[in-house]
């Protein structure tokens, strides 16, 4: 076979495969921020990397062969699964004055927005993670971060928008800094509680 004929045969074969109604395949999609990640598919035949929007590969056939799936095909195969996708989680950061559980005035005003966001979801669950800056020892910061998380949890529970059993409360102490600093450094951006609404 000459090269063009060979290529043509390959192209035809992949078109037939792509058009085949029943097959096992994976297609990479754009994230909703417009970026695209990567997917690695490993089968007994080898490994295939997908890194372009709508790039697809069969997982029950030879490795290394990819094609671009049409939006129509993806919609036909995955429309129902996509429509069942849950609402995207949202995260709020609340900041505190030094050494206690007093919210900064700006963050105090944010609480109402958090309650509104919880209220827009039919079956919300929430995680509340407390953090400190690096002033003080580990033990004290572990306790302080938990105190902050519980304080915010109390505010959320008082809003009556969510079953308190669906709030997970955690302390990360000073182990998870938003802004890296040396030890014993005051930093308001690290004195925070992260509230994630799912």
């Amino acid at each position: 076979m000459t090269r063009p004929v060979q290529n043509c045969a390959l192209l035809l074969a992949s078109l037939v495969l792509a058009g085949c109604a029943n097959q096992s395949y994976v297609a990479l999609l754009e994230n909703d921020d417009g970026t695209t990640g990567k997917v690695q598919i490993t089968t007994p035949y080898g490994s295939t990397l997908l890194n372009a929007p709508r790039q697809a590969t069969r997982i029950d056939g030879p490795s290394g062969e990819t094609y671009i799936a049409t939006p129509e095909k993806l919609d036909k195969d995955f429309g129902v699964a996509m429509k069942a996708g849950p609402a995207k989680p949202v995260t709020y950061l609340l900041y505190f004055d030094l050494g206690g559980s007093t919210l900064t005035p700006e963050s105090e005003a944010e609480v109402a927005k958090i309650l509104d966001a919880i209220g827009t979801r039919s079956v919300p669950d929430v995680s509340v993670i407390g953090h400190t800056d690096t002033v003080g020892d580990d033990g004290a910061n572990e306790a302080l971060a938990l105190e902050r998380a519980r304080f915010v949890t109390g505010l959320i529970a008082a809003g009556n928008k969510i079953d308190p059993a669906k709030i997970v409360v955690e302390s990360h102490g000073k182990r998870n800094l938003l802004v890296p600093t040396p030890d014993n450094t005051e930093e308001v951006r690290n004195r925070r509680v992260e509230v994630t609404i799912r």
Binding site: K38, G79, K83, A84, G154
Partner: protein, 155 residues
């Protein structure tokens, strides 16, 4: 405002006490919640199918299973979202989410059907810790949204 704050602190304290008094509250084992469920949508727990409803907790070992028509969507604690279409079966094999301890793992099996996967914090912190097995191959991810379709393998 002062009074309000005291009231809030009391609630917080009460919540704290409740959590402390019941350390084995099911919450430890809850790894996600059903967020959407349409038509024939089920959670299979210890071999028994329970009709899935939004708000139901999901634990390791649960099987997400739909008939035709049917669909089901779950959000996990690390913000990973999976949603499945009709005639689909997906097993949640392993799940660990304790970033402070470096314990991160998400392993699932798509036995058959259609899946949309949107990655969460686990894939961001430790991409190699996320795998979806299928009867014909393994799907690994890096901060990604993808779809997968698996034809039922006839025994």
């Amino acid at each position: 405002m002062k009074k309000y704050k005291r009231y809030v602190l009391q609630i917080a304290l009460w919540l704290g006490l409740v959590v402390t008094a019941h350390p084995v509250l099911a919450q430890d084992a809850v790894i996600g919640y059903v967020k959407t469920a349409q038509d024939d949508a089920n959670l299979v727990v210890d071999g028994k199918a329970v009709k899935a409803q939004p708000g139901m907790p999901v634990q390791v070992g649960y099987v997400l299973k739909t008939g035709k028509p049917g669909s089901l969507g779950v959000t996990f604690r690390d913000n990973t979202m999976v949603s499945i279409g009709p005639d689909t079966e997906m097993v949640v094999d392993e799940y660990l989410f304790a970033p402070a301890k470096g314990e991160l793992k998400l392993a699932a099996t798509l036995v058959k059907g259609t899946l949309q996967y949107i990655s969460g914090v686990i894939a961001k912190l430790k991409p190699e810790a996320v795998t979806v097995k299928t009867p014909v191959g393994i799907i690994g991810v890096r901060g990604t949204r993808y779809v997968a379709m698996v034809e039922e393998v006839q025994p």
